[in-house]
Structure formats: C-alpha cells, structure tokens
C-alpha cells in the first residue's frame, strides 16, 4: 500500500528481514542450538548432544523447575484472586474510589522489582512476621509483582462487560452473590484465564526480586540459569533456558485452550 513498485517492495522486505532476523529470531535459535551442542566457538555448534537435557531435567535442575512451577502457579492464583477481587470491587465504586484503587494496584509495576524484593526482605526479616529463609517470601514477592497485571487485565475486561446481563439477572430476582457467580464471572472467564497466563509467564521468568530473596532450598529456574552461566557453564544455562521457555509456552497454550472453550458458552 505504501510502496507500489515491485523492486521497492522487495527492498523494504529485505531491510525488514535484515533487522528482524538477527535481532529477534537469531537469539532464540542460538539458545536452542547451544543447548544441543557440546562446544561452540566457530560459525556452527559442534557435536549434537542431549546430555544437557538429561542433566537439566534431573537433580537440582528438576527441583528448580518444580520450584518455579509451584511458585508461579501459587503466585498467579493468589494474584488473580487479589487483583480480580479488587477490579470487581473497583467497578462498583464511583470515579474517585475507582481512580484510587487503579493507582494503588498499578503501583507495583512502577516500582522496580529489585526494590520490591528489597522491601519485602526488609519487612519480613524480623518479627512479628518472619518469612525470610522460607519459600513464602519468594511467593509473596512474586504475588505482589504480578497482582498489578492481573488487576489491569481484569479491570479492562470489567469495563467492557455489557451491564445488560447483570441488570437482567438482578431484575429477575437474583441475589448479588448469584449475579456475580452465575453471570459476571462466567462472562469474565476468558479474560481471567488470559490474565492467569500473563501472571504465570511473568512469574516463571522473574529474576530481579527473586535474586534478593531466595533461600538456598527454594531456587527457581531463572536463578539456576544465572548460577550456571555465572560459573561459566553457558551450555547448561542454555539447556535450562530452553526448558524454561518450553514450559512457559506449554502452559500458555493450555491456558489459551481453556479460553477458546469458554468463549462458546
């Protein structure tokens, strides 16, 4: 539409590929290739091997994966409950209350995640609530960090909700609890599941706050990847990274299946 000549179009596409492929496609391919290589210091990796995957899916690494999964699922469920509740409560408030809740629940995005980690560390390393050294401090920090995203996506969906349905249900005599449970939540289900996917992906890759907080017996996968690359085992790090990406994508795909089934209801 913008470029009409054939030569011009091909030139534009060539520039696009020259920018896009090295910047975005190559890094992911390089990680994938490196995770399968024994050695790489030329144009191409040498010696295909799956040994690293054997190592990446057993022992400490397997434990790191389950740690990440448990943390991400728990944090997503908590964040969805907290953020979804707040978004639904905000919808029934007038302008000022809504704006106040908006600002409050979006604040964790603006605060650097390292600082969220520091704050949680400072607050819960001393009585009355001593969480430092337990897995709960990591889960708490992840929940705080992803709640903002859960709130934002649910709030956006609530705004788009057609009020006719709930008014009709209420007019037919349904109690507010019944309207919420049988009308609003089912209508919100697609956005709730996509918010859950977002929270899960963010929590799976969270490194900044986790580095401040993790106890030795609760090391999530990103920390394990950093530990591997920091001691020079780049290839192990790459295999772990592929495990992380695959798990995230699999869960996201599963979550989006729920969404498509819900939208037929």
């Amino acid at each position: 539409m913008l470029v009409h000549s054939r030569a011009g179009k091909w030139a534009t596409w060539a520039v696009f590929l020259l920018l896009f492929v090295p910047l975005f496609a190559v890094p992911l391919l390089v990680i994938l290739a490196a995770s399968l290589a024994t050695h790489w210091s030329g144009a191409f990796p040498s010696g295909p091997t799956v040994e690293r995957y054997a190592a990446a899916t057993s022992g400490d690494s397997l434990q790191a994966l389950t740690t990440s999964l448990v943390t991400a699922v728990t944090a997503s469920v908590l964040a969805l409950t907290l953020g979804g509740w707040a978004a639904l409560a905000a919808a029934s408030l007038r302008t000022r209350g809504k704006r106040f809740l908006d600002a409050l629940f979006i604040l964790p995005v603006a605060v650097p995640s390292v600082v969220v980690g520091l704050a949680v560390l400072v607050a819960y390393s001393k009585p009355p609530v001593l969480l430092n050294g337990t897995r709960w401090i990591v889960i708490l920090a992840h929940t705080v960090l992803v709640t903002a995203f859960a709130y934002q996506s649910v709030a956006a969906a609530v705004r788009r909700l057609d009020p006719m349905y709930e008014q009709a249900a209420a007019g037919l005599g349904a109690s507010p609890a019944r309207v919420l449970w049988r009308v609003r939540l089912p209508l919100l289900l697609p956005s709730l599941t996509s918010a859950a996917g977002l929270c899960f992906a963010l929590s799976m890759g969270e490194l900044s706050a986790t580095m401040m907080l993790y106890p030795p017996d609760w090391t999530p996968l990103p920390v394990q990847i950093f530990a591997a690359t920091d001691r020079g085992s780049l290839f192990t790090g790459a295999a772990l990274a592929v495990v992380l990406m695959t798990t995230t994508l699999l869960v996201l795909a599963a979550v989006s299946r729920i969404r498509t089934r819900a939208s037929y209801r």
């Binding site: 920018l19 190559v26 890094p27 390089v30 030329g42 907290l82 707040a86 964790p108 704050a119």
Partner: protein
C-alpha cells in the same frame, strides 16, 4: 503500618459517602474493596514504607539525612545514576526508531507471514529479558561465535568483539528485548488507520516518505509516546540483562541496590538508592499513565 492502612481507609471512605445512598439496604460497595486493599497494604505498602524509613536511619540509629549525604557523595552512586539514565534514554530512542520501522513494514508493506511475525512478537514478550543476554554471550562473548570466526580466519589470538561487558552490550540487549513493547501499541494503532487516507495521499502525488511524515506519523504519535515512556520506565528498572552480562563496569541503580544489600549487607545505603530509583520510575510511570490516557490507550 497503621499510617498506610489509615490513608487507604480514608481514601475508600471518601468514595463511600458518594456511593452509599444508592445501596443503602445492603453493605456499601466500598466495604468490598477493603480486603484486597488491606492485603496489598500489608504485602507491599508496609514494606515500602519500611524502606523509606530505613533510608533515614543510619547504622548508629536515630533519624537523619546522613545516609543520603553519604550515598550522594559516593562516586559509585553518581556513576550508576548517569549510566542508568543514558542507557534508558538510548535504549528508548533505539526501540522507538526500530519499532516504528518494523511495525510500518508489517502494517503497510504486507507480506506473507506477516501475521506469524506479529504473533512471534507476542511470544517474545512472554520470555524473560535475561535470555537475550544469554544468547548474546554465545554470539559476541569472548569465546563466542563472532570471535571464534575472527580468530579462525585471521589466526589472531583474540577476537575484536569485547563490547558485551561494556554499556554498549547492555544497550544492544535492551533494544532487542524492549522493541516489541513499542511494536505492539503501534501495530494496534496502525490497524485502526484508514488506508483510504494513504491511497488519497498517494494518488495526489505524495511519495512514501511524505506519506509517512504527514499522514502516518501524526496518527502514530500517541502510540509512540505511550510505548516509549513504558519502555523508558522498564529500562530504568531493568536488572536481569545487566546481571547476566557479568560486567563489573556497568552498574545501574537496580544493580547498585542488589550489590549494596546482598553483597555488602549495607541496608541503609541500599534503601537510599531504592528510594531514588522509586522516585524516578514512579514519576515517569505517572507521566506514562497521563500520556497513554490522553492517547486513549
């Protein structure tokens, strides 16, 4: 603690007086907002106030501005501040230019597979940032591809690529990782642009450059502003990319918070840096909210 929940309650109470008459028979609406606000206050606002409090408390105890004076006077803090700001500004500028060009091609010079590229960008967003640095280590690292090719071809003992442990390596990684955050709002804005406008401009004799400058750019400005300020805030707060380069020479504010708190156990100084970092990024993020609301995003 009581102070934060106190302000939260009064804030909700203000709105309650407005909402109460409509629902006088049941529980007022603001009561339902209290539990999540209370949880957030306990999990997030209370820790945050402790950080601010600790930043005014030197090791000897008492309440003073000494920690601030000490940190502001240190060269490492001033270095970190300038590095953080110029890296964030440079990355944002790079992301805006690159994101604009790429989104322009996807939207207005469509090619087969363009949809797949747009979906790839979405997938890219769900990966953590440090993967980019990890990949760059394989490509440009001291024993990576590029240096290996060079030493193989010339027989030299050492390759020419050492920029990865300098700020330039961080800049490259940040531009790569954050460009999709600019492309997404731009693609959304372009999809709403009436292509008839482009056809009219084109049939009136305007060249592509002129069309971009006079028709597309004005339409894209709100999306560019919103995406750009979001990326600016995220770059200011980026930690994983800097940590993974393993460069001693590149220290940003989040990195300084980490090294002061975890490596040196100097919590007062870490809290001071944290407060500065919060001030900068919350200020910029509020600006982003205002801009994106104006843009109708």
């Amino acid at each position: 603690m009581t102070a934060t929940t106190g302000t939260a309650r009064t804030g909700a109470a203000v709105t309650a007086t407005a909402a109460a008459p409509a629902r006088s028979r049941t529980v007022p609406a603001w009561v339902w907002a209290l539990p999540p606000v209370a949880v957030l206050a306990l999990a997030f606002l209370y820790p945050l106030t402790l950080v601010v409090q600790q930043s005014f408390t030197p090791d000897e105890g008492g309440l003073s501005l000494d920690p601030y004076a000490e940190v502001f006077a240190s060269a490492s803090f001033r270095d970190a501040l300038t590095t953080t700001v110029w890296l964030a500004l440079g990355s944002t500028a790079g992301c805006l230019v690159l994101g604009f060009v790429l989104a322009l091609v996807i939207a207005f010079v469509p090619f087969p597979g363009g949809k797949a590229v747009a979906r790839f960008v979405d997938v890219f967003l769900s990966f953590p940032s440090f993967l980019i640095t990890l990949a760059l280590l394989f490509i440009y690292g001291s024993v990576g591809m590029a240096n290996g090719l060079w030493t193989g071809a010339t027989g030299a003992a050492d390759g020419p690529f050492h920029f990865l442990t300098t700020p330039w390596g961080v800049l490259l990684a940040e531009i790569t990782y954050f460009t999709p955050f600019v492309m997404r709002p731009l693609l959304a804005a372009f999809s709403q642009l009436d292509t008839g406008q482009l056809e009219v401009a084109s049939s009136l004799g305007a060249g592509p450059v002129r069309i971009i400058r006079r028709v597309i750019l004005p339409e894209a400005l709100p999306a560019l502003a919103a995406g750009g300020s979001l990326v600016l805030v995220m770059c200011l707060n980026e930690f994983g990319i800097v940590l993974f380069t393993g460069a001693k020479g590149v220290t940003t504010l989040p990195m300084l918070v980490y090294s002061k708190a975890i490596l040196e156990s100097d919590y007062a100084a870490a809290c001071v840096v944290a407060v500065v970092n919060i001030a900068i990024s919350v200020g910029l993020y509020s600006l982003y909210r205002v801009v994106s609301r104006r843009a109708g995003a």
